[in-house]
Symmetry: C2
Subunit: 188 residues, 2 copies
């Protein structure tokens, strides 16, 4: 797995330390205070000047995307694995459940970013998730296990919608039941 760390190239040691520290603190802050958590406080808690935070993450969205990156890499990897699974329909269902789980793991940050950050649609993360979803979906449709009149973006919208609707009452059971209902609706 390629982590954000290994992607850093030739940074000074202190810069790298700061980068990681900001990321760690940001993860906590977003979980506690939501997607609008104070950047100033994140910098403070990371023991870093605000300017340093802005240097590493020029926009709030950049920081949010960085926080989400690990989970997204994992989901992409999981999608690749699932492309070899025996039942294409079940593989898709499993991956969508993983999406839901990931959304709840980061306390709804993912879903919130998708819904309220216009930049999301043009981000690499979005393209990556859409590509994974499209591959799994195409296979399930080719196998006749999923109706053909739905596309990958719609599918992701639905899952994130379910996640969003539960971000303030993170009832995993209920969320998974809604996903099950949605999956029933996906049958041809």
């Amino acid at each position: 797995m390629v982590t954000s760390t290994t992607l850093q190239r030739a940074k000074r040691a202190d810069a790298l330390r700061n980068y990681e520290q900001i990321l760690t603190v940001a993860k906590e802050a977003f979980a506690e205070d939501g997607p609008d958590a104070s950047l100033e406080e994140i910098a403070r808690r990371a023991g870093v000047g605000v300017g340093t935070l802005y240097r590493h993450f020029p926009t709030r969205f950049a920081l949010q995307e960085a926080v989400l990156r690990d989970g997204i890499e994992e989901l992409a990897a999981k999608a690749d694995e699932l492309l070899d699974a025996p039942s294409p329909g079940e593989a898709l269902a499993q991956w969508l459940r993983a999406q839901l789980l990931n959304d709840s793991r980061n306390h709804g940050l993912g879903a919130a970013v998708v819904a309220s950050m216009p930049e999301w649609n043009n981000s690499g993360s979005c393209q990556r998730m859409t590509a994974s979803a499209a591959a799994l979906l195409a296979r399930a449709q080719a196998a006749g296990e999923v109706r053909s009149d739905i596309d990958a973006p719609s599918l992701l919208h639905l899952v994130h919608g379910i996640a969003l609707a539960h971000q303030h009452a993170p009832d995993t059971v209920r969320a998974e039941k809604l996903l099950a209902i949605m999956l029933d609706g996906l049958r041809p």
Copy 2:
């Protein structure tokens, strides 16, 4: 129809005028700038001191709920009508479509409030919508047109999730297609 105006009792004329003016401006502001629109600017554009805004609407949520109130009254009324419609399943579907339409009419404010304001669940508006949904749902379930293992809050969560996922690309066609898929999933 009972409007918010007729609910005001014995206010001074200028107070009432201010109340209405703030509401009008807030509606525009939320549509333009989203649910976090500046309260200060709303007051300014309404030609009113900030204190006056706070007097009428002690919290941001109070103002948001007031902006949404008319649409909610309409939906509640529509639900009452639809309880007499011939097909219980179709009546439910129609009402859910109206929910979606209402969400897009106020530029996603409704869905955003539902998702990001913890106060929502305890609000009268929420109880009202849940009651309407429950009545239509119960009838559809009794008629055997909708599966019995879903409840009204889940149903509303799903619809608002769909609306939320589209608030930054308000593609009505796509949203309605997702709703149709969800409705398919609701069949017994």
